[in-house]
Amino acid sequence: MTGLRILLGAAILGGLGAAAPFTPLWLISLVTLAMSTGLVVCGLIILWRGGLVPFGQALFFATGAYTVALSGRWFGVTDAFLLIALAVIMAALVAFVVGFLLAQYREIFFAMLSLALSMILYGVLVKSETLGSTDGVNVAQASFFGMKPRGPGYTFALFWLALGMVFSAWVGVSAYLGSIAGQLAGAIRDNEIRVEYLGISVTRLVHLKLTISAALAGAGGALAALSISHVDPQMAYWTTSGGFVFVTILAGAASVPAAFLGALLFEIVRTIAVALLPGGWQLILGSVLLLTILFVPEGLGSLMIRKRATVSEKGAA
């Protein structure tokens, strides 16, 4: 992660932010929502590199979303930044607690246990009639440092907020993946015992990775709740987790920006499919995913890496 790349990323995101007022509003809402998925996928990549595939990331996503909804409803918190901070803390806290159990498991056991935990939250939410059961509850419109933009202004504000979150996540996650703890992910996947011989506790490392990825999922949930203005238990359901895993497959774990591009591509394909084939849009979505797996098995990120590799080879020659 060089300073040049950070500048480049900031320039791209800044350009997107500046282009917002000239973009159709529906597209801005769509991109904001895709960025919320991207944040969750960003967290999944951290676990993915360590060979861990959680099928219950919706637990932290929904925790973040409900934290935003209920902080507004019960305690009158409306500031978007405060709401997101609360959501991140809550999601990380939940992950820290369940991490003592989850970090003991690997492979399918890790996947299934995380799935079970998210379904417990789903079950609790469905049974709580005061929270609207499956119908969910509305989220009040947020304020930004005391400013209360409404109408299109609110859509823009959320979009800029999303860009800021994407930038922080990108810088933060790239830094983590480049650090020793982050680079040990591959080693954990390949041979845990050797990592232990290096004097590092694998369990604690997995616990840390889980907490970081949950914080990102909480941020994604908070952004989704603000952007949809509604939360419901479906956010904790296993299909939601499955969706995140799917986007991760689409994006691949090789690159952080690919997480956001993958999420965006997924959302755009879905919305075009719905417009083209109202009664069979799943067919188009399924075909695209199938073709991705057939032709780009390593995900979209691998295309970017491959391109970079070709360029550097040429440079060497």
Binding site: P24, L25, W26, L27, S29, L30, L33, V126, K127, E129, G132, S133, T134, D135, G136, V137, N138, R150, G151, Y154, A224, I228, S229, H230, D232, Q234, M235, T240, E267, R270, T271, V274, A275, L276, L277, P278, G279, G280, W281, Q282, L283, I284, S287, L290, L291, L294, F295
Partner: protein, 443 residues
């Protein structure tokens, strides 16, 4: 080499499949009316086109929208709707699937309004989707008519300006059921309920119990069962119900759960001990026919379907619907028809106030508030929720299978007036039920 050819073949097959499914869409698009003088009104229609709710609710709603729009455009709907389109403007529908997460629905709603530029939207079966779309509709100032969702919360949580619901909310179903049950069993000592453990099931049961408390304070609740949604297998619940002395069992089941529950409890002899009350039973009665025991109490979320009165509008609606789709219209079809007719009434009224010109959306909104109009099955009055929520009569009846004709029928139909089963304008439904339904006028 082998792999490449397999891949190419697969790609060809996939594209062929995509092309084949796209053809009917193209065909439908071509039958749109030819260049009209008045610019057309774009109408978004959102219902379940895929998934478990498509069969019982989404598709009848979609079909009803298709035929109503076609007939309105041709000016073939009987009086008072005989004028073409919406105040002369032809309607161009855009159908959207309601399946998918709430996030998808909010995104697609924004797409309809901001990308496709629809003038109004009629849709939504799921109460969760209605609750999520309502604030977005307000934000975008987009006229939206909910057609089938039942939760009373829509207009009770905060007043809305651009959102309407001609279809009465679900409180009416439970109050009507309670009144009908007590007419059939005036000395009811105890009752049970089996409802799906999600918002619709929980709300239906809560309202039913509240209405029973108000009408028959001495009747007690035996068993309160809340199996999970789409459980499909109810052996344990049926055993529990068989141990009670409940004369009646209340259920707001629908779709596969309703059908499997009817078949499974029939095999165990539950209906011989308790009369079953299915508040949404009408959607299943034609498919199950003789499998439903005679005397089962059936509701249709309004006086719809076979319980609808014999008016010219209803006869016409049933006629065109059956001709086109070879099946009788069930209540979601009626809900869609009355929602579109409500929109047309408001549109025409707003246009008349402007001397026949096409009205602006704000004019339509103003005209819609508090309007009264004839639906195929009942008169609808936008009387509550600040004039945004419709109330209408409800009917309940008892099932009978006509063996001679091999036809499912509903007999002993009792129709309750709107004021008898709906809260007044100044009360939420929960407060009204808890207060013992003050001001209910049942004569």
């Amino acid at each position: 080499m082998q792999r490449t050819s397999v891949r190419a073949c697969l790609a060809r097959k996939v594209s062929a499949a995509l092309l084949l499914t796209a053809l009917p869409v193209a065909a439908v698009a071509q039958t749109a009316p030819a260049a009209p003088a008045v610019p057309p009104v774009k109408l978004g229609i959102v219902t379940f086109l895929t998934g478990p709710a498509a069969g019982p609710f989404g598709i009848p709603g979609r079909n009803s929208a298709e035929i109503m729009i076609e007939m309105l455009n041709a000016g073939k709907v009987p009086a008072p709707y005989a004028t073409a389109g919406l105040a002369g403007a032809p309607i161009v529908p855009k159908f959207v699937d309601e399946a998918g997460s709430t996030a998808n629905q909010v995104t697609e709603f924004r797409n309809l309004v901001q990308r496709d530029g629809v003038n109004a939207t009629v849709g939504y079966v799921s109460s969760g989707n209605c609750l999520a779309v309502a604030p977005v509709a307000e934000e975008l100032k987009a006229l939206t008519v909910f057609f089938d969702c039942g939760t009373p919360r829509i207009f009770e949580e905060k007043p809305l300006k651009y959102v309407f619901r001609a279809t009465p909310h679900a409180t009416m179903d439970s109050v009507g059921a309670a009144r009908y049950v007590l007419k059939k069993f005036p000395d009811l000592a105890s009752y049970s309920g089996i409802n799906q453990n999600y918002a619709w099931g929980q709300d239906s049961w809560r309202d039913f119990v509240a209405a029973m408390k108000a009408l028959a304070p001495k009747a007690t609740v035996d068993k309160e069962l809340l199996p999970k949604l789409f459980a499909g297998e109810f052996g344990a619940e049926i055993s529990a119900l068989l141990t009670t002395n409940s004369k009646i069992v209340h259920s707001s089941f629908w779709n596969g759960d309703l059908e499997s529950f009817i078949v499974q409890n029939g095999a165990r002899g539950l209906p011989a001990r308790s009369t079953m009350v299915y508040t949404a039973g009408e959607t299943a009665m034609f498919r199950l026919g003789a499998k439903i025991p005679d005397g089962t109490i059936i509701g249709a979320r309004g006086p719809h379907g076979v319980m609808a009165p014999d008016t010219p509008l209803n006869k016409w609606f049933r006629g065109v619907y059956e001709d086109r789709f070879a099946t009788a219209p069930t209540y979601p079809a009626y809900h869609m028809a009355q929602s579109i007719l409500g929109l047309k009434s408001a549109w025409d009224k707003a246009a008349a106030a402007k001397g026949g010109q096409q009205p602006a959306i704000d004019d339509v909104v103003k005209a819609f508030e508090g309007i009264e109009f004839e639906g195929p099955s009942a008169k609808i009055r936008m009387a509550i929720g600040n004039g945004h929520q419709g109330i209408a009569d409800i009917a309940y009846g008892s099932f009978r299978f006509n063996k001679a004709e091999g036809k499912a029928e509903i007999v002993d139909v009792v129709r309750y007036p709107a004021e008898c089963v709906n809260p007044p304008a100044n009360m939420t439904s929960t407060a009204w039920l808890e207060a013992g339904m003050p001001g209910a006028k049942c004569n």
